[in-house]
Symmetry: C2
Subunit: 181 residues, 2 copies
Amino acid sequence: MSDVEIKVENIVASATLGKSIDLPQVAPALEGVEYNLEQFPGLVYKLKEPKTAALIFGSGKLVCTGAKSIEDSKKAIHIAVDKMRTLDPDIPTEFEIKVQNIVASANLMKTLNLEAVALDLENTEYEPEQFPGLVYRLGEPKVVLLLFGSGKVVCTGAKTISDAQLGVEKTKERLTELDLL
Amino acid sequence: MSDVEIKVENIVASATLGKSIDLPQVAPALEGVEYNLEQFPGLVYKLKEPKTAALIFGSGKLVCTGAKSIEDSKKAIHIAVDKMRTLDPDIPTEFEIKVQNIVASANLMKTLNLEAVALDLENTEYEPEQFPGLVYRLGEPKVVLLLFGSGKVVCTGAKTISDAQLGVEKTKERLTELDLL
DNA sequence: ATGTTTTATAAATGGTTTTTTATATACTAT
DNA sequence: ATAGTATATAAAAAACCATTTATAAAACAT
C-alpha cells in the first residue's frame, strides 16, 4: 500500500535565549507588537513573512506558531530575536530552538464511516454533535489523529515530521486492517 | 554556640491518589466543601482537627496546607480521602504523600540591624517600605529566610524539618561571622 | 452565498486563581 | 483597641488567559 502524503500545516517551536528580557525595552523594535500583561504575560508579535506569531516572555523564552515548515519557524524566530537585539545588544545570536508540535493534514482518498470507526477502532472518541471529527490517539508515535468522514485527516502532537508521517501511515494501516477503509 | 530551636508553623503536602476523581460525586461526603470551578479548579475542604485545608483536584491529586506537623498533615489527608471513598469506593487506601514545603519560625534572641545586614550579608533583598522583613536566600539547603529587626526569623521552602533547622542554624552562624548578631 | 463563531486536537510559554503559615509595618475601618 | 487589608516568602495542585493550524458541521449574521 502506497504511503500517504502529509502536508505540514502548523509548527509550534520554542526558543530559549538564556537571559531575561526587559519586555518594555525591546517592544519598540517589534512593530505592531501586542502587549497586555493583565491578560497574558507575553508580547504577541506577528510576522507577515513567514506568516507566524511569536509569544515573547520576560524570561527570555519565545514560542513561535503558524509556520508551515521547520525552516520558516526558525527564520521567524531569528527575525524576531534580531529585532529585539537592536534594543538589547546582550541578546545572543545563537540559542536553542525546539520544535514542540507539528500539525499535519492528509487525505486517505476514501470516505470513512465514522460510526463504524468509533465502534471498531480502539482509543477513539466520537461525539458528532459536538465536533464532526473522530479523535484517535496513537501511542507510538504519541500523536492524536482527527479523522473526518471525507477521508481527510489531521495529525497533531508530533515533534518530528517523520512522527507525523508515521502516525498517519499507521492510522491508515490500522483502518485497512479493520476493513474500515 | 547552642542550636536555635525552630517551630514548625505550616506544612504543605501533596498526595497522589493514582486515579481520577469525579469531584461532584465525592463533594457531598465533604461537609462544608467549597467548590467554585470558575474561580479555581479544585474543591476546598477545611478540617477543624487537625486544622488544615485540602485542595482536591479532579486528577486525583490533593494539596494539604496548614498542619503544624507532618503527622497531622498525613492525618488530615487520610481523613479527607476516607470521606471521599465513601462515595467513590475505587479510591485507594494507600497512596503517596509528599511534603512540599515546611514553614518554620525561630528566635535569634537578639535584635538585628537590618540595614547593616542588607549591606553585609549576601543574597538579600530588603525594601522596608514594602515589607519589614529582609529576604535572605540560602543555596544549601535551598530555603528562604525572612529576618526581622526583632530577631525573629521565618524559614520557608524546606522539604524536611532538618533542612529547616539547618537553614536557620546556618543563617545564625553567618550573621555571627559577619558580626551582625 | 459568504463570513463568523463554536465545537475538538496538540504544544510551548508564564501569570493568575486558591490554600496555609509565621514574621511585622502601615493603613483603613469599626 | 480590635479587625481587616496590603506588603513578602515558599510550595503543591490545575484551569484559564493568548497564539497557531488543518479538519467539518451547525448555527447565526450579513
